[in-house]
């Protein structure tokens, strides 16, 4: 039934009907993402910064849904908001926050860093105003069928053949294994 709903959604997009999400959604989600992003880098308390980062991640998830990427949105919520942020909160609890909440928040050379970031922002503005013609206004129609199904075909392959990304997928699993072992070994008291 989910599949039928998904393909109905895709055919709605392909037939050129206006999508359900209005531009207001985009501006609200973008505003929430940027404002809580500012909170992440300015809060004194690391727990508050982590909570603001979760809000940013959820707003970006909304943007993924507006881009018709439901699988990436699900992965974002499960892995980022559910996994990585819990890891962050655990580590914040392990290192003492009392001491760092009384100290200076910023480096002594914070002005240099801010200047470098402003230069980067100017570069982005320049690139986007000059290269506006490179980005067409309307997205191309997405392929028929469920988004998750198409991603699975590319990851795992279909009809016994390897997919385009099967090898990369296996390498990614090896990377995760190495990362888990490294994290466990580094946090052991005695190796």
């Amino acid at each position: 039934m989910n599949l039928a709903m998904n393909s109905a959604l895709n055919s709605t997009i392909n037939s050129g009907m206006a999508p359900v999400a209005t531009p207001w959604f985009f501006y609200v989600l973008a505003g929430v993402a940027v404002i809580s992003g500012v909170l992440v880098i300015t809060r004194r308390n690391a727990v508050h910064a982590a909570l603001a980062l979760i809000v940013t991640l959820l707003a970006v998830t909304g943007l993924y849904l507006m881009l018709y990427a439901p699988f990436v949105a699900g992965v974002q919520i499960i892995v980022y908001a559910g996994g990585i942020m819990v890891l962050f909160l655990f580590v914040i609890m392990l290192v003492n926050i009392d001491r760092s909440s009384k100290e200076r928040r910023f480096n002594r050379i914070w002005a240099v860093g801010l200047g470098a970031a402003c230069a980067l922002l100017a570069l982005f503005v320049f690139a986007f105003t000059k290269g506006k013609a490179l980005f067409p206004d309307r997205g191309m129609p997405l392929a028929e069928g469920s988004n998750t199904q198409e991603i699975a075909k590319m990851l795992y392959g279909e009809a016994g053949r390897m997919g385009q990304y099967t090898f990369a997928f296996e390498i990614a699993s090896l990377l995760l294994l190495v990362a888990i072992l490294g994290a466990v070994i580094m946090t052991k008291k005695k190796i």
Binding site: V95, S100, F135, M140, L142, N147, I185
Partner: protein, 102 residues
């Protein structure tokens, strides 16, 4: 009302990217520096998914998923290093982590 184009998403992603760079450069707390790196990776992911929509294929979304995997590995290793360091020096400030500096 102007329809939302790819450029809108790129502007939001650029803003998040610059915020992450500022966090990496000016904060002293290593945990928040790692969070800023997550912010940067999210900006890149948003760009990739927006381009995937623009070109009408799924390669950008696949790349975004692999970047999420990398982010998980990076967070696990980074926080492991942080805990090992905190056990030795009782600090989480980047400007006091200077054992390799001569």
């Amino acid at each position: 009302m102007v329809p939302i184009t790819t450029l809108h998403y790129l502007v939001v992603a650029a803003a998040l990217f610059v915020l992450g760079v500022i966090g990496v450069l000016i904060r002293r707390n290593v945990v928040i520096v790692l969070m800023s790196i997550e912010l940067i990776l999210n900006a890149v992911n948003l760009n990739l998914v927006a381009f995937s929509r623009m070109w009408g294929n799924l390669h950008g979304q696949l790349f975004a998923i692999f970047i999420v995997v990398d982010a998980a590995a990076e967070a696990a290793v980074g926080l492991g290093i942080l805990i090992a360091f905190f056990r030795n020096k009782e600090t989480v400030n980047v400007d006091e982590i200077d054992l390799l500096k001569w």
